[in-house]
């Protein structure tokens, strides 16, 4: 039964983390390079711009959900299962989210890199 709960937690971490990542990436893309922004307008203007982004708060909300699911999952399973299992699935869902929602150019090289990382992470979990 504990195994089932662990996988429910992993599923919850994957969904919330992928949604959070897409929202945060969207917010940061709208704002632009933070280093350039800070040099041009100053630190406080940068913070105001960052903290006035609705997409960022939506992203943080989903990341908080992922965090608490991860915390509950860690109380049932080892970090060496929870960490890599949720990460491997998050890589794939993020690549799909980035392609369809952020319109990123996910070329062969990036798919291959995602696949390599995903397989590597799975190998880490199976041992």
């Amino acid at each position: 039964m504990r195994n089932l709960y662990t996988w429910i937690c992993i599923f919850s971490v994957v969904c919330s983390a992928a949604t959070g990542d897409v929202f945060i990436a969207l917010a940061m893309r709208r704002i632009g390079d933070l280093g350039l922004f800070r040099r041009k307008h100053g630190f406080f203007a940068m913070m105001t711009r960052v903290l006035s982004s609705g997409a960022l708060f939506a992203g943080i909300f989903f990341m908080a959900m992922a965090f608490f699911s991860n915390l509950v999952g860690l109380s049932w399973a080892d970090l060496s299962l929870m960490g890599p299992a949720s990460a491997a699935l998050t890589f794939v869902t993020n690549a799909i989210g980035a392609k369809f929602f952020l319109h990123e150019n996910v070329d062969k090289r990036r798919w291959l890199a995602t696949l390599f990382v995903c397989c590597g992470v799975l190998l880490l979990t199976r041992s």
């Binding site: 709960y5 990542d21 897409v22 945060i24 990436a25 969207l26 940061m28 893309r29 709208r30 704002i31 632009g32 390079d33 933070l34 280093g35 922004f37 960052v50 960022l56 990341m63 965090f67 608490f68 991860n70 915390l71 509950v72 860690l74 109380s75 049932w76 080892d78 970090l79 060496s80 929870m82 960490g83 890599p84 990460a87 890589f91 993020n94 690549a95 980035a98 392609k99 952020l102 319109h103 990123e104 150019n105 996910v106 070329d107 090289r109 990036r110 291959l112 890199a113 995602t114 696949l115 390599f116 990382v117 397989c119 590597g120 992470v121 799975l122 190998l123 880490l124 199976r126 041992s127």
Partner: protein
């Protein structure tokens, strides 16, 4: 064909990362791995949380390892947001996957978990993936309307 190669090289040069940006990616890796390991260490102290009393997860917030882990994850979050401001999500995620290698090494030497041959193979695959993505451009260049949501896209059409 030559034009394609030229365009690729041009976009790669335009999106090439400076040492400062590599440092931001490195801090994503370090803060993320240390934060996760601290949380795992803290949750081992707290023990299993009963599925009928999930609210007990908040009690974990008084554990020093969990508190330190949260501070590390705040550092992770700020460097992650900075990284996403200059690179694509599909670049940042594989590039920061070295964190799993770092995390496996921390589990081995600090939490004394065993690392098998299979796990070392996983670490090698992750490193290869990171090398692949790091060799390409870090950012997709968009016309401004492409990321400003469905309304802007409708306006174009």
């Amino acid at each position: 064909m030559e034009l394609l190669v030229f365009r690729y090289r041009l976009s790669f040069r335009k999106c090439a990362l400076t040492p400062r940006k590599y440092l931001v990616l490195l801090s994503v890796v370090v803060f993320g791995s240390i934060g996760d390991t601290m949380l795992a260490r803290g949750m081992k102290d707290v023990g299993a949380i009963d599925v009928h009393h999930l609210v007990h997860v908040f009690a974990a917030l008084s554990n020093p390892w969990v508190i330190f882990g949260i501070f590390c994850l705040l550092g992770f979050m700020s460097s992650y947001m900075t990284a996403l401001s200059f690179a694509d999500l599909t670049y940042v995620l594989p590039a920061t996957a070295l964190g799993y290698v770092f995390m496996a090494l921390l589990s081995r030497f600090w939490l004394h978990e065993h690392i098998s041959l299979q796990r070392w193979a996983g670490i090698a695959l992750i490193t290869a993936g990171v090398g692949l993505v790091a060799g390409g451009p870090s950012r997709t260049e968009h016309p401004p309307a492409a990321v400003s949501g469905p309304k802007a896209a409708q306006g174009q059409g």
